[in-house]
Each structure stands twice: as structure tokens, then as C-alpha cells.
Symmetry: C2
Subunit: 357 residues, 2 copies
């Protein structure tokens, strides 16, 4: 089979980590007889430098014309002076909206060998953690009206609108229930229904949807409580489904709990099989170009691409297995190394993982 992938390397360490993920995809292609075609396009700071805008129309078109998008990371202090609407991060928001990527999947998992890296006590984690956060990604306060206005008396007021419609909640709830039914059968829906109308609608629709999934247990939790329970008893959670803003906060909190943010992939899915795949970590401009970046989060993002967009679960398993073998064999990139560990650079890490395949 032929698969067309739009590649958005982005800024900082983006191009390096994306390069290693492509190396691993090519190893998969060779072994399983698939052809991956790559079209590289610019977004973020790199696009500002080249075209004067963070998300050129040509980039959006190339992504739309592909089967999936592989993204590195965008942004960096170099573009701190760029005015708001053209800042590199806006490319992310623009891509999400233009490509209809409403379902953001963010696994927060702990690899046995790296359990020590968690800031939480071992007694709380009991050696493991495997949460999937399903964050709504094209609605809510991110995409409602944003207004700043001056009063006649010279005062200034600014507002943003958190808005959800039933169909937006239905489709993200469906994603969460489907995922949970293939995992441990539990969905925790997070909202602030004691204060917000949008949350009350959220809770109502998610509860209605749950009757279609008899094998999945649903509980509802307020966002402030969820922020606590993630620390107190993270193993309570299987799948968490929540809106864009709460999902932004809780998914980052959950990644921090694993202690190994350099290992965490993400997928942003549209209806059908289309998706954009990217590591959770940022562009880390301070280590760009030094062969220090950990490419594993991007490699695991490529595995998610194999699984969710291309429906190649055997191939996805092979990538994840290769990462596990890399760790089991004692290799570590700088960010996850303990004292005394020999350190594997970005390229060596990609080579080894591709080699295991």
C-alpha cells in the first residue's frame, strides 16, 4: 500500500525528531512492504522566516491532500516579538481547525524502566500508569469569540466565549467511549457543571451517549477535583474526556506525572481516518542541533499514525515494541538518563529503534 504523509518539521528540535520518526517509518515500510511518501511543508517560526506567516495556505493544502500529518514542534524565543495572531503557536490552532481535528488523544503512560522519573511517590503509582486523555480540540473557549473593547470612560474589557453544541460533544464522547471499550472500560468526563452552562450541556450529552456503551462505566468529575485526583490517585483513571481548555490543563498535568514528557506522543483526529501526529513536548530551542533531543515521543506518534490513520496495528505494535526493547536494553537519551547511564544521541536512538524493527 502507498501512504501519503505531510511532514511539518517546525522549529527547534522539530526537524531532528521528525527525521528519526521517518527513519522508523521507513524501516516499517521495508519490513511490511508499505510505501510511505513524504511531502515536507513549513509551519510555525520556520514559515514566518520563509513566508512571513506562520501557516501558509500551501501548508494547509498539502496537509489536506495527504492521508496524515506528522508534526515536530513549533515556536521559540526567536519569534517572541511577532504579534499575537501570527505567533508560531497559532499555526497549531489553524491546522486543528482547518483539518477538523476535533479529537486530541494524549496518552499519559509510564514505561516500567522510567517509573523512577515520576515526581510522585512510588506507592501512588505502584510501578505503572496508563491514562488516555481525550481532549476536544476544535471548540470551546479556544474557538469562541475573542473581543477586547474600550468603554467611553477609557476602561478596557476583554472577553472570550466558551461554547459547545450538542453535536460537538456527541462526537468527542463517542471517541472516548470507543477508546475505553478497547481499554479498561472506564470514562471519566470532566467539566465544571456546578458553574457553567456549557458544562451542564456537556454532562447531559455525555451521559446520554453512555447508554450506547453498556460495557463502559461513566463517571463525572469537576475539573478542580480532577486536578487533585490526578495527583492523589492517578490510577483511578482510564479514559478522561473533557473540553479544549480543561483538556489543555489536565493533559499537561498528567504528562508531568509520568516524569518523562520526552516519551509522550499525541494524535489529533478528524472524522474518518485522517489525523495529525506530534510529540507532546515543545521545540526545546536550547538543545536544537546538538543531537540531544529525545525522538521517542515522535516515533511513538508515528506508531499512533500507523494505528489510527492507516489501521496497521501490527506495524504500530512493532514500533512500540522496538521502543520498549531500546529501553529494556538499557539505552537512554539525555532527558531520561539516570546517573551513570550511557547516553544515546538523537540519531543513534532512531537508528537503534529502526534497527530493532
Amino acid at each position: 500500500m502507498k501512504y501519503n504523509i505531510a511532514v511539518v518539521p517546525g522549529d527547534g528540535i522539530g526537524p531532528e525528531v521528525v527525521g528519526e520518526a521517518i527513519k522508523v517509518l521507513n524501516a516499517i515500510g521495508q519490513k511490511y512492504n508499505h510505501q510511505f511518501n513524504y511531502t515536507t511543508v513549513l509551519a510555525g517560526g520556520a514559515a514566518i522566516d520563509e513566508y512571513g506567516e506562520c501557516l501558509p495556505e500551501a501548508t494547509v493544502e498539502a496537509c489536506k491532500n495527504s492521508d496524515a500529518v506528522l508534526l515536530g514542534a513549533v515556536g521559540g524565543p526567536k519569534w517572541d516579538h511577532v504579534p499575537g495572531p501570527q505567533r508560531p503557536e497559532r499555526a497549531l490552532l489553524g491546522l486543528r481547525k482547518a483539518l477538523g481535528l476535533y479529537a486530541n488523544l494524549r496518552p499519559a503512560m509510564i514505561f516500567q524502566e522510567l517509573a523512577d522519573a515520576s515526581p510522585l511517590k512510588p506507592s501512588i503509582l505502584d510501578g505503572g500508569l496508563d491514562i488516555l486523555i481525550v481532549r476536544e480540540l476544535t471548540g470551546g473557549i479556544y474557538f469562541g469569540e475573542h473581543v477586547t473593547e474600550s468603554g467611553e470612560d477609557g476602561s478596557v474589557t476583554a472577553y472570550d466565549v466558551e461554547k459547545y453544541s450538542d453535536y460537538e460533544i456527541q462526537r468527542i464522547a463517542r471517541t472516548a467511549f470507543e477508546m475505553a471499550s478497547k481499554r479498561n472500560g472506564r470514562v471519566t468526563s470532566v467539566d465544571k457543571a456546578n458553574v457553567l452552562d456549557s458544562s451542564r450541556l456537556w454532562r447531559k450529552i455525555v451521559s446520554e451517549m453512555s447508554s450506547d456503551y453498556g460495557d463502559v462505566e461513566l463517571d463525572n468529575m469537576y475539573v478542580d477535583n480532577a486536578a487533585m485526583q490526578l495527583i492523589r490517585d492517578p490510577k483511578h483513571f482510564d479514559v478522561i474526556v473533557t473540553g479544549n481548555m480543561f483538556g489543555d490543563i489536565l493533559s499537561d498535568e498528567a504528562s508531568q506525572i509520568t516524569g518523562s514528557i520526552g516519551m509522550l506522543p499525541s494524535a489529533s483526529l478528524a472524522d474518518g481516518n485522517f489525523g495529525m501526529y506530534e510529540p507532546v513536548h515543545g521545540s526545546a530551542p536550547d538543545i536544537a542541533g546538538t543531537d540531544k533531543a529525545n525522538p521517542i515521543a515522535t516515533i511513538l506518534s508515528a506508531a499512533m499514525m500507523l494505528r489510527y490513520t492507516f489501521n496497521l496495528s501490527e506495524e504500530a505494535d512493532a514500533v512500540e515494541g522496538a521502543v520498549r526493547r531500546f529501553l529494556a536494553d538499557g539505552f537512554r537519551t539525555a532527558d531520561i538518563a539516570g546517573t551513570g547511564d550511557a547516553i544515546s544521541g538523537t540519531v543513534e536512538t532512531g537508528d537503534r529503534i529502526a534497527g530493532y524493527i
Copy 2:
């Protein structure tokens, strides 16, 4: 001096813990020659049961006519069937708005003797933690428009408006800078300025205000990053200032990090000296009436009242010192007891702390 305190015991363990705080206040009154007059009024579930509404006008009036309010906790499963606008928690929102309590102070601190209770590794806390969260409490998405509407096609959309005006940001920023200048001189302002207009205004105003406080260092942080840094390196923070919604989430996350939520007080201040004081924990209906509740958070809330509303800092120090002595002498309520600790009930705890004074 005479001080008039409106007392809102509320539901669950509320009446018990408030009773012990009053015991301690009376011990202070006796030692330092102050007269505390108490007017007890109902709010929350107790008010629903008695008057059919969670916040009777008479309660608001009694609070307005007092110098300060001492509140226990509201809510419980008994009122789960009550429709939204009359749920017990709405009494809190109503009191905050009616009394103009725009500045919520939530210390997240670790008592040396209880450092083990934190879910974080000792290496991260290094034995201590002392963060003050300053949460804006009468604005933002809590008090913007809340609307649910049906479209002609039968679809339903709900929205809530996150709104801030310059003067609201100015006054809460002032509180934060004043607090920081009496503490470790650092303010972290938390927002989502890469997405929200209200956050961009927030960041602009807070930065402008900071020039009035040359001795205080200001840094700005996105809310998703703040949720991570609180776990990764909580000692980074001195004072955190943020809006109502982000403050709700981050203050609960920070309290959980201490591991002893039964110890944490809060103050909600209006212009001038007026304030409402309450423990951070909830109404814990499961242990109500069993003499198991920890009254220390409420006792420390009373200490905040002495400090912030009555300007009695020596007296406030005396209460805090008595709590420290209680812990140093090895006494523990059930929630903070280790294996083998003898357990002190609610009443015994109040008696002992009052006794130390």
C-alpha cells in the same frame, strides 16, 4: 475591642469544625481582652431544608452587617436532586458576589511534621512548601453570561463568557503584589495569553501594575505550564495570581500537593478589611457527627480573620503557634495520622489548641 462575626456553619462537618474555631477565638478573646460576638445564620443545604433556598436574603444581610464571616462547608449528596440554581454550592457564589469578595487567598503550605503526607517525592519538596495562591473570585467565566439555547433544527448550544475588565485585574494584582512584598517577593501571574483576549488584557495590566512594586519580581506563565510546574518544581512559586477559573483548578492542585487538605485555610477579601474565612476542605458528610473531622483548617481560617480583617497579627501568630505546638506534641486527627499515632477527635483537637493559647 468588640468584633462582630457572622457564622455560617453550613452542612456536614461544617458545624463541628466551626464550633472548634469559635472555641479557639474565645481563648484568644480571653487572653488578649477582645470580645467576639457571633451571629449564626444558615446557607447551603441547611438553608434549603429550613427556608427552601440556599442563600436566604437574611443570611446575606447578617453577613453584610458583620465585620467578618466564618464559614464551615456547604453541600452534600442529600441535596443532589435540587435543581442547579438552588444547589448548596450556589450559596458560595452568591455570598462572594453579594459581599464583593474579589480576592481569594489560598495558602498551600506543608507543616514539617506532615511533610510525609505529600504525594510528591521528598526530593522535590525538600521538607517544605509555602505557596500563596491569589485567585480572582468575583469575575471571569463564573460571573459572565451563561446561556443555553436551542436552534431551529433542534440542536442545542450552550455558552459562558469569560470576561475581565482592567479595574478587576488591577485590584487583584495589587493584592498579589502586596502579599508578595511581605513574603518572598515573587509573583507568578498565570493566564492563557496565547489563546484568550481576556488573558492578554490580564497579562498587560498585571505587567503595568508591577512597575509600582520594584521589590517584587513578576513572571508570567501559561496555565498548562503552571499545572506542570506545580508538580515538577512547586518550590519555584511564591505568590501565584490568576483568574477565577484557573485559580479554582490550580489552588486545588496545589492543596493536593501538600497532602494535608484538612489543614488548609482560606480567606476571601473585599475592599477594606471585610472578609469571609473558610477551610479549603468540603463538608465530608460521610464523617459528619462522628467527632472525626479535622478542625485545624477552620481554626487556621480564624487566624487569617484575625490577621486580615481585625489586624491582630500577634493574636493570629498565637493561633498558628498553638496549631504548630499541637502537631509538635505529636497529636493527630484521623486524616493526618500515621500508623501507630494516637488519634485526637474534633473536640479534643479544639480543646488542646485553645488550651495552648
